[in-house]
């Protein structure tokens, strides 16, 4: 009886989390435009998305932004983690670095967005691709460092130093010894940064310019108008894309070295 109740509780929580999404997906392939009734399977709403130029440009912008933000923040985060790992004695540096990272994680997105808007305004940085990129890198780096750091702590720094003793150059020791051991974490960080950047609304809302439209903001402006089947299709597509990336990242991060 007790376990049955437990199971019921777990199931109802998961239903609460997933029913809205499932409903969204179902309506995105429903033929009916206005009614809730099921009128047969149809992919016409997806086909309509394909012909929407503005949506396509927003989508390519978002993908470009996501890839740049993911690559730059993962590379920076990776090197910082490696440096800290190879110099375990730099305790103060580690502590202050993690203090700023923690601040960036706990501070509400809204305040970060506002703060970056002020910064760009003072340095006269035009709002557009570049301002979005800086903002996305800023909120991605903490997650990169956390992801890679938890992995790197399972390794032994002596692996690197023995490679040096055996005559490897520093680059070689890094690329042939450390990186292969770290790659699941690196790929997982890349994917997570991409989804973070691809889905971010709040920070982008403040630092986006009129010339560089991105997908989450386009979705936001559509969502405020109301429910349409095309929007259901667009949201389903975006959600499934992020979901696949998250699942892959999760599997990679759980893989034992």
């Amino acid at each position: 009886m007790k376990t049955l109740l437990q199971k019921l509780f777990l199931i109802s929580v998961y239903l609460f989390l997933y029913i809205p999404i499932i409903v969204l997906i179902v309506y995105s392939v429903n033929k009916a435009r206005f009614s809730l009734q099921w009128q047969g399977f149809s992919t016409q709403w997806y086909a309509e998305l394909l012909h929407d130029r503005e949506l396509w440009s927003a989508f390519t912008h978002s993908v470009l932004l996501g890839i740049c933000a993911a690559v730059i923040s993962t590379a920076t985060g990776l090197f910082a983690c490696v440096q800290l790992f190879l110099r375990p004695k730099r305790k103060h540096q580690r502590r202050s670095l993690f203090a700023i990272l923690l601040l960036l994680i706990v501070i509400p997105d809204l305040v970060l967005g506002v703060a970056l808007l002020l910064l760009f305004n003072i340095f006269a940085i035009l709002l557009g691709f570049f301002s979005l990129l800086i903002a996305h890198i800023t909120f991605c780096i903490p997650f990169v460092v956390l992801t890679i750091n938890s992995r790197i702590h399972t390794l032994d720094p002596n692996l690197y130093y023995s490679a040096l003793d055996l005559g490897a150059t520093r680059t070689r020791a890094l690329t042939s010894v450390l990186l292969p051991l770290l790659w699941p974490a690196v790929v997982s960080a890349l994917l997570l940064c991409f989804t973070l950047s691809f889905d971010d609304v709040i920070i982008s809302y403040f630092v986006a310019g009129p010339d560089f439209n991105i997908l989450p903001l386009t979705i936001y402006s559509l969502v405020r108008v109301g429910v349409t089947p095309e929007l259901n299709a667009l949201c389903t597509f975006t959600f499934l894309l992020s979901m696949i990336l998250v699942i892959v990242a999760y599997k990679l991060s759980r893989k034992s070295p």
Partner: protein, 274 residues
Amino acid sequence: MKTKPFSLYVIYGCLLIFGFVPFLLVAVTSFLSNDPNNLVTLPFTFDNYIELFTPLFGKVFLRSVLISLITTIGCLVIAYPFSYFLVRSKHQSILLLLIIIPFWTSSLIRTYSLIAILKFKGLLNLFLLKLHIIDQPLSLLYTNFAVISGLIYNLFPFMVLPIFTNMERFDFRLFEAAKDLGAGKLDLFFKIFLPNTARGIISGCVLVFLPAMTLFYIPNVLGGARSILIGNMIQSQFLVIENWPQGAATSMILTALLLVLLFIFKRKGNEGRS
């Protein structure tokens, strides 16, 4: 190893410029005056803060705190037993993944997906009518109820994950030891389990309480005119009214609240360790 850790300095520099300096700018701006042409101007003034003590702001502020509090309690009440079952479950890996997916995917889209459930001719009303629990469809969308459900729905993973990681480290043999020493069921919970998992609870609450006030698109999408929260206020102060100093002052109040919460968190954490 005589080389300087170049990449470390780069990341420090970046984080300082883009992660720390902006917050200082918010602090400075909050003391400047509003200027319609240049957005901000001298002289320094406290007016932005004094103006926040008007009934209008007080109302929004109180409502935000109340709604966030309900959201936090709601999340906690569901997430605490939920995490416990998760820790003890055999299918932990897959169950955890199902919590992580909503954690990382777009919360805007998940908010949007609630509309079809909550609207007047939506699924929830349909369901309740079919079961004859209600005779007339309820107007759920564009109410504070919709906003709170949206917030709980979106922030639930932020409560579960810290509590779960905390419970994962709990040594369940302590229960047996306590039982051997004659502890009752209530003692087990209040004297052992709750104090040991307090850290997770507090970090979960910090991660839910503040964002609940600032996720401005949730009240915008699900709420009505009477569900404006601090987040919506800051958003309009910056981008609609363009009164940046006022918006910065409001953001500072939020940040101050955050610092208070972090302080409590830190003290609790130290208590737990000693």
